[in-house]
């Protein structure tokens, strides 16, 4: 090949972003390439993660045993997320990790549901998603490999304690050298590329590739191309208050979100506790008020929703909060990190740097962030609360892409998917319908199925799903089986 392979990679920061990156690079970089992690105090892992099923694929690539991860990270299972209080005080819906219903007569299920609903009782859309139904009932079972079984429609994610998760990642990254250190100075060359990082104790770190996993982007932000695209108008939470509360007797395998006057509350079940997050806007709610809402004490984290214009510039690449920050309202924690690491590996640079690979990386990561952001913004657009926090957020104009997506769904239930979507069609349908966005028309082709036949199929399906969910063990019992 032209250009020499990377000789050394320095990961500054650490935490979940730094260690996911280190563990993955340790797998793919040739043994001769040195990988170092300099752990800064502010990047230390805090709080809990509510993750998508895709993270389990990442563990598979790392050879990271799931039982070990769950044990080390106080993990529980996640079949989806429940959202409460969005379109009214009695509103509540679950977005489950299995597509609702079945493809009847070649037409997407939600059209059949919309049609049945016009005629009368069809239940909630989520009643046709096994993951959602089981989640509400507090039940869990792993997916079946047998495609004829309704259990094959399931998939699941994990709830993980961040600190424990970092410990699990660290244990698989044997060849990675790690040490604590604080960044004193970022040295740029004449072209604005990071040349070295000087630590507080005087050590000078040089590398072919610097990976910035600090919470505030100390390296990438020091380069001339480290501009930040602000998203705080549409996504108003710039503070997260974290606290652990006592474990409930029967925690559901769901992340639970609830609107409050100040913003929203998130509850993530861990083995021995519930990790609770309050997200709020600092100009409307003080940190002390936030602590009071959580019962007196909490760790406060500052956030700034948005992303870098370019996450990768010359020899410095940002992953995690240094690259993008999205308030954790989709239950897709660690997803941006995972896609950043995956794309870095697919576009691995040479020691001399690969500007075209960086441009492609930036295009892909920008698209990925923007599409996930759209789903979070949708949760504000669709909210009906009239508190100042909520009504102010609703006044922000959604992106062209989201406005189009919403208009298409409202018109005739069409789900528009762009390049680099994190969330598949079924996830968007679950969110849109759950948030009360209902199409004016359903697909005319659904009318081919005689109404009585369609109703019978829907009723049968709902019964089958409920029965399958009730046959599963409780979430608590399922966790006991995975010590």
């Amino acid at each position: 090949m032209t250009g020499s392979p990377l000789n050394n990679v320095a990961i500054l920061g650490g935490g979940v972003a730094g260690w996911m990156t280190a563990a993955a690079l340790a797998r793919v970089l040739p043994p001769a390439c040195e990988i170092r992690v300099i752990e800064t105090a502010d990047a230390a892992p805090r709080g809990a993660l509510s993750t998508l099923p895709a993270l389990r694929g990442f563990h598979g690539l790392l050879g990271l045993d799931e039982a070990t991860v769950m044990r080390t990270a106080r993990g529980t299972f996640k079949l989806g997320a429940r959202y409460g209080g969005w379109t009214g005080f009695d509103h509540d819906h679950v977005e489950g990790f299995s597509d609702a219903g079945a493809n009847l007569d070649g037409v997407a299920f939600h059209h059949h549901w919309l049609r049945a609903r016009q005629r009368g009782e069809a239940g909630r859309y989520e009643d046709y998603s096994l993951a959602a139904v089981a989640g509400r009932l507090g039940r869990f079972a792993p997916p079946s490999e047998d495609p004829r079984s309704v259990l094959s429609t399931l998939s699941y994610g994990l709830h993980l304690d961040s600190a424990g998760y970092v410990a699990a990642l660290r244990s698989t990254a044997g060849r990675v050298a790690a040490r604590p250190g604080e960044i004193a100075q970022v040295v740029l060359d004449t072209e604005g590329a990071v040349q070295a990082v000087v630590l507080a104790d005087g050590e000078r770190i040089a590398a072919d590739l610097f990976i910035d996993t600090t919470p505030d982007g100390r390296l990438i932000g020091a380069t001339p191309s480290g501009g930040w695209i602000d998203e705080t108008v549409a996504l108003p939470c710039n503070r997260l208050a974290l606290r652990e509360l006592a474990r409930r007797a029967d925690p559901p395998p769901l992340t639970e979100f609830e609107t409050v006057t100040e913003g929203w509350l998130r509850r993530v079940p861990l083995r021995d506790a519930d990790a609770v997050t309050l997200a709020y806007a600092s100009d409307l709610t003080s940190d002390d008020e936030a602590r009071a809402i959580l019962g007196g004490e909490a760790t406060i984290i500052r956030r700034h929703n948005g992303r870098r214009e370019r996450a990768w510039s010359k020899g410095c690449l940002a992953i995690g909060p240094a690259a993008s920050q999205l308030e954790p309202l989709n239950g897709d924690d660690a997803q941006a990190i995972q896609s950043g690491v995956g794309r870095l590996i697919a576009l691995l640079p040479t020691a001399e740097g690969s500007p075209l690979a960086a441009a492609e990386y930036n295009r892909l990561m920008a698209e990925t962030f923007d599409r996930a952001r759209d789903l979070a913004v949708l949760r504000y657009v669709a909210a009906s609360r009239t508190d100042r926090f909520w009504s102010r957020a609703r006044r922000a104009a959604p992106s062209t892409a989201l406005a189009y997506k919403q208009a298409q769904f409202e018109s005739r239930g069409r789900v528009v998917l762009y390049d680099e979507e994190t969330f598949v069609e079924g996830a968007w349908v679950g969110a849109l319908l759950g948030l009360g966005i209902t199409p004016r028309r359903h697909d005319r082709l659904a009318d081919r199925l005689p109404a009585g036949q369609a109703d019978a199929a829907l009723t049968r399906l709902r019964g089958l799903i409920r029965q399958a969910a009730l046959a599963m063990p409780t979430h608590a019992d399922a966790l006991k089986d995975r010590p």
């Binding site: 069409r414 390049d419 697909d443 005319r444």
Partner: protein, 511 residues
């Protein structure tokens, strides 16, 4: 609320586009109270350029429930494993763009990076040795892919080469059996509604006035409804794809039929060769700026392998698409919607995408603007991404000293294509999009087939030791060579499975 459902559809124009639309609508709308009518005139010839197809046609046929052997017999069809491109990089070059991937990923890294690495290490095995469909095509062999996904014999797909006129006739019988009413005659007039400019009705030369809720314009290049009546405008891509004419002529078969289409670069464009059971279809797609009609026809005739069965027929077109392929209550399908030269056999595919997308967005009588917008977004994207792929064939040439080819190499290309080419050249990255008809193996075939070789390969491929890599490469080559040997000759398979009776014409299908 008044009932706004579509109750009748009028398709204007038969041909491949008209009858594919009629067949698909009659199958997918069956059970709904919707009447489908098609008007066409036997006096107006059909173009039928798209005689070679891509594998998606099999989904289309399967959705209609067509019997493969019967369909092949009635359309004089042969199998197609890919397209051979002759003389596109340099004079004398030949590569096949196959329907299938090369090799298999090793250590999570796409195969071509390993191939590039071996090549830089002195291994000069051509990429095509790692493609079963190419090796089978070169050997004139065919068998359907194995359903066993662990077998190398499952690593390809196939399409057909058929007589488009017979295919239209076949689908006509299918559609008529499902209630589509055909009316013979020419359209004399198109009437628009005063309030919103929707099409209200057409009047036939015989005086009959036919109204409909939804009109499908399959009238060909002229766009009788979409352009002549609704004046939607045309996005002209001549600056990138300057070929504006084609001369077509069938000739007698004199050799075994190849399981692939051939596209041979020529002085002012390229010539196609499509083997059918009963004849060989030939054509010359050219730029009228660079060659006269007479010279093109002479070049076409001079290149025939067997006796010409007719005089060359000249077709005129402009590369590009209607600004709105769906406007008001009119959807244009086929040549009425736009034209991309059949270099990658996409004409019939574009018809298929249009019909499928129309069904996905099937409107009510108001033809909601949202439906039109989404249809036009999807179709424009489809056209643009095929366009880039076609332009690549022209741009990546080393035929210096020929005016037509020098221009193709030197004139600007779309930015979207330049970006893709830069990334490939830099380190073998094939840019991927969600919507894009041609996937990584296709781009690889053309890039490498036309001598665009990356400067560098994926460094992760270095994690596989040299000796292990050499062994893996050999194992893949050997299994492909063996699987190829085991396949029957293309003509033998046709004779066994789907031979048309000699001299037979298309028979109506009984459905």
């Amino acid at each position: 609320m008044t009932d706004q459902t579509v109750r009748n559809i009028l398709i204007v124009g038969g041909g491949t586009a008209g009858w594919m639309t009629a067949a698909a609508l009659s199958a997918k709308l069956a059970g709904l109270p919707i009447a489908i009518r098609l008007v066409e005139s036997a006096e107006i010839g059909t173009v039928g350029v798209g005689e070679a197809t891509v594998p998606h046609i099999r989904h289309f046929n399967a959705a209609l429930g067509l019997d493969e052997a019967d369909f092949m017999r009635k359309t004089q069809a042969t199998y197609k494993l890919g397209i051979e491109f002759r003389g596109w990089g340099k004079l004398g070059d030949s590569y096949i763009h196959p329907f299938g991937a090369y090799g298999a990923a090793i250590a999570g890294v796409s195969f071509h990076h390993h191939w590039l690495r071996a090549r830089q290490g002195g291994d000069d095995t051509p990429l095509e040795a790692y493609s079963l469909p190419v090796m089978a095509a070169r050997g004139g062999k065919f068998a359907p892919p194995s359903p066993d996904l662990s077998s190398v014999a499952s690593t390809y797909n196939y399409a057909y080469q058929f007589d488009a006129g017979l295919y239209a006739a076949y689908l006509r019988a299918y559609a008529e059996a499902r209630g589509v009413v055909r009316t013979e005659g020419k359209v004399a007039d198109v009437a628009l509604r005063g309030d919103d400019g929707f099409i209200e009705a057409i009047t036939m030369e015989g005086g009959e006035r036919i109204g409909a809720d939804l009109f499908i314009d399959c009238s060909g290049f002229r766009g009788l409804l979409i352009e002549q009546a609704l004046k939607t405008g045309y996005e002209d891509w001549t600056r990138w794809l300057p070929c504006d004419r084609a001369a077509a002529v069938p000739c007698e078969t004199v050799e075994a039929s190849t399981p692939y289409t051939r596209c041979t670069a020529d002085a002012a464009g390229w010539r196609w060769r499509i083997p059918l059971q009963h004849r060989v279809g030939n054509g010359y797609v050219y730029s009228s700026q660079h060659i006269s009609d007479d010279a093109a026809a002479a070049a076409l005739l001079a290149g025939l392998e067997g006796r010409a069965q007719a005089d060359p027929r000249v077709l005129r077109f402009v590369a590009g698409h209607r600004r709105k392929q769906w406007s008001k209550n009119c959807v244009a399908v086929g040549l009425a919607s736009g034209f991309l030269e059949p270099l990658e056999s996409t004409s019939i595919h574009l018809i298929q995408v249009a019909v499928t997308t129309l069904l996905e967005l099937f409107p009510d009588r108001t033809c909601d603007q949202a439906d039109q917008d989404e249809y036009n977004r999807v179709m424009t994207l489809e056209f643009e991404r095929i366009r880039d792929f076609l332009v690549l064939h022209y741009h990546a040439n080393q035929r210096t000293g020929e005016a037509f080819w020098d221009d193709r190499r030197n004139l600007p290309i779309p930015d979207s294509l330049a970006y893709k080419m830069d990334l490939f050249h830099d380190r073998g990255v094939v840019v991927k999009y969600k919507d894009g008809f041609f996937l990584e193996p296709s781009w690889l075939a053309v890039y490498l087939g036309q001598n665009i070789v990356p400067r560098a390969y994926d460094p992760v491929s270095g994690s596989v030791p040299d000796a292990v890599l050499a062994q893996r490469l050999k194992a893949i080559r050997d299994s492909i060579a063996e699987a190829t040997r085991a396949m029957p000759a293309h003509d033998d398979w046709i004779a066994r499975f789907c031979a048309a009776r000699s001299g037979a014409t298309a028979q109506a299908v009984t459905a």
